[in-house]
Symmetry: C2
Subunit: 432 residues, 2 copies
């Protein structure tokens, strides 16, 4: 049975806190193993990649080759179902159109005393994209990571994906091609992260690495951070649905289960002001579970981490939601905009009954790589800004230096940095 | 003697590579010590802070109190030199005015098929600012970190600064007050990072931690990343000056030394197409060094990491600069704009002879927290965007769901996520 909480109960605050602090991930201590793999790839390059792939993925890259060839990609595309390819193409086009609006603009202005200040944005030159293997190898995630990079203007996008037993999902390769990925390598794990960060004979190093992975991949990304840029470390996925009596309980149940089927550690929560809706949703979940192919995973997630919370007034859902800082937030109420405006911390908000989260996962156009595990308190979803960087530009003439130079000299001296002070003074008083 | 390189020499490529890969930081392995401190503060809270401060800073916070009081801050301000306070105020105002232009705008639009897509920016609720103690305790850095946070709308800005022997720089406290810092705590090291990340009885946890620190602070930030957001890990500072024969060698020498005086591991490089300018700068550096209070530091930096590189054509400086990806780049040539436009990787560019880097360090208005150690290849300087996060908003109606829902269903099925597919199908075909 799923957890039921009611804001009217005296122990609500404690139970809500417990729900918040629930640890959904078993933290594996793989850090030492990862450190050894990184050092080894750095030292032995391709040879180490071949050894680890043999050991972890049961594949001989000495024979098969580390890089996936254009012919293999074409063959994979030919193998794909036409409907799925068309759907991927629609998704690609919509993601591209939305992310094109995120391109930041360069700006230059002259301030009241004549100092010129500018910001110029440039793309990261080369990016590595990690794609998990096996059942978590999602073509939609390839699009969500690769398309914003290409929109940003990244010239070289190198994808790594493990090939357990030699297999890579054909649709993943087709998505890479559709998204404009430039190179694909059949390597996974910490060894793939090492190759992207340090380079090997076959894989040239990149400047930034993005994409989700298991505990080894996460630990490796954390370790190479600084040598290269990394995106956030993704945790298990979650959805919060805020719904009132106007919502259709079957639809809400379907959305909660769509989240739960990802992973036994996924989390689905409903907050409602209508206890009857809560009951109806709980019942619909049980009913829909019976016919779900991934029912074992979904029912474990729902049983262990799911929750239905009843509040007196739907507006009380807002502060609760902000404490959860959900990755995905659906608002299915009579006036969803009013509630949405009050929300401060959420990766993405899905408004109204006809916007199931799955639309955003695939074809809405916005990104499905979103901050998990309460990190929406400080982080944003993936976007074009993750693949560009800003250079600030400053220009003074003699007049401006006369105006603000004395303050710089004063601060340099106050900080004991006399060469700083002198570098300004020497220009103001050429005799000094 | 400083290193001299010439692009005309046959071994130039190797020597330039060696300059690039020069390791300027001794990497201390403090990770295990830091892990223990984090765990201890998490467990024992204030008591652990008091113990570590006693041990590392020789100060009894049990008597002095962990939080710096408003009275202490007022007393510190009264102690400060008026000229320095006025300079700080000017700097604060200019930093504020510039960063106000970085505030991102919310955007909502309806696409051709009627899907509404939006981006909404909100400030991080609470931010912790680490400020080093001792001689590296810079009031200008307090402004550079705190002002953008306040411009972004951060409600609670908590500063931590170690108080070795009980002492905190009065100008640092005055800068905190000027910048609108809400709380100041006299704690430093990994224990301060732990307090900000996990909270103690006195220090409430924050959502994000920024600011530079030593190896312990850097290791602690790396470890709490995920629980809280962090900014980049700062390395030793560096400047690259591109200058031609029109530059004043004394001014260039002063700028190279302003960088070198920071730290023995700072790096100052000149690239010029005029060998005579190179000679004159080398000579001016030696001359200016003799009268510099921090000459021991500056001469060690210049001797160990400084370089003068002569190229045939000044345009050859651009690809070399992009490989260095300098934190600070000064362009002092006849037509600096032409070169500046070609540069892709730099934290900040200072244009022309009257814009010494020290102006940007203090009063230019742009931020002096910039990506070091070649990270300008993928990272930007600190700014308002570091203190806000984006929530994406999506809304479909029945018509839009009919238009793009089938593609979502196809992708859900192709990925084996049937509950995803069903959450869309159930709305399109209410009988399903």
């Amino acid at each position: 049975m799923v957890q039921r909480l009611s804001a009217a109960e005296p122990d609500f605050a404690e139970r809500f806190d417990a729900l918040l602090s629930m640890k959904r991930e078993v933290s594996e201590d793989v850090d030492q193993a990862v450190a050894a793999i990184l050092a080894d790839v750095r030292k032995r390059g391709d040879e180490a990649l071949i050894d680890y792939s043999h050991r972890f993925d049961r594949v001989d890259l000495g024979i098969l080759g580390i890089q996936v060839t254009a012919e293999e990609i074409a063959a994979a595309r030919a193998e794909c179902d036409r409907t799925a390819l068309d759907a991927l193409t629609l998704a690609r086009d919509r993601i591209e159109a939305h992310h094109a609006k995120q391109l930041p603009r360069d700006e230059t202005y002259v301030d009241p005393i004549g100092v010129e200040l500018g910001s110029r944005w440039t793309a990261v030159d080369s990016v590595g994209l990690y794609v998990p293997g096996g059942t978590a190898s999602y073509p939609s995630s390839v699009l969500m990571n690769a398309v914003p990079a290409k929109v940003a203007g990244v010239k070289r996008l190198a994808m790594v994906v493990p090939a357990p037993g030699g297999e890579i999902s054909p649709l993943v390769l087709a998505a890479a091609e559709l998204a404009g990925v430039d190179e694909v390598f059949r390597v996974g794990g910490a060894q793939a992260v090492a190759a992207l960060a340090f380079g090997t004979e076959t894989i040239r190093p990149v400047a930034k690495i993005v994409g989700p992975g298991n505990a080894y991949v996460a630990a490796a990304k954390r370790r190479v951070f600084g040598t290269v840029g990394i995106d956030m470390i993704a945790g298990p996925s979650e959805v919060l649905v805020i719904a009132d009596g106007t919502a259709n309980p079957d639809w809400i149940a379907a959305d909660l289960l769509a989240q739960a089927e990802h992973d036994a550690s996924a989390q689905s929560i409903l907050i409602t002001d209508d206890a009857a809706l809560g009951d109806a949703v709980a019942e619909a979940v049980e009913r829909q579970l019976t016919t779900l192919p991934r029912k074992d995973i979904a029912s474990a997630s729902w049983r262990d981490y799911g929750a239905i919370i009843v509040v007196e007034d739907i507006r009380a859902a807002v502060p609760l939601s902000d404490r959860i800082a959900p990755e995905h937030l659906e608002i299915v109420t009579e006036d969803p905009d009013a509630l949405s405006r009050e929300i401060r911390h959420a990766g993405a908000i899905f408004i109204g009954g006809h916007t199931p989260e799955a639309i955003g996962d695939y074809v809405g156009g916005s990104n499905h790589v979103l901050p998990t595990a309460r990190t929406a308190r400080f982080a944003s979803g993936l976007g074009v800004l993750d693949f560009v960087k800003r250079t600030s530009i400053l220009r003074c003439g003699p007049e401006q230096l006369r105006a603000i130079g004395p303050a710089a000299i004063a601060l340099g001296e106050a900080e004991g940095l006399h060469a700083h002070a002198r570098s300004v003074a020497i220009r103001m008083n050429p005799g000094a």
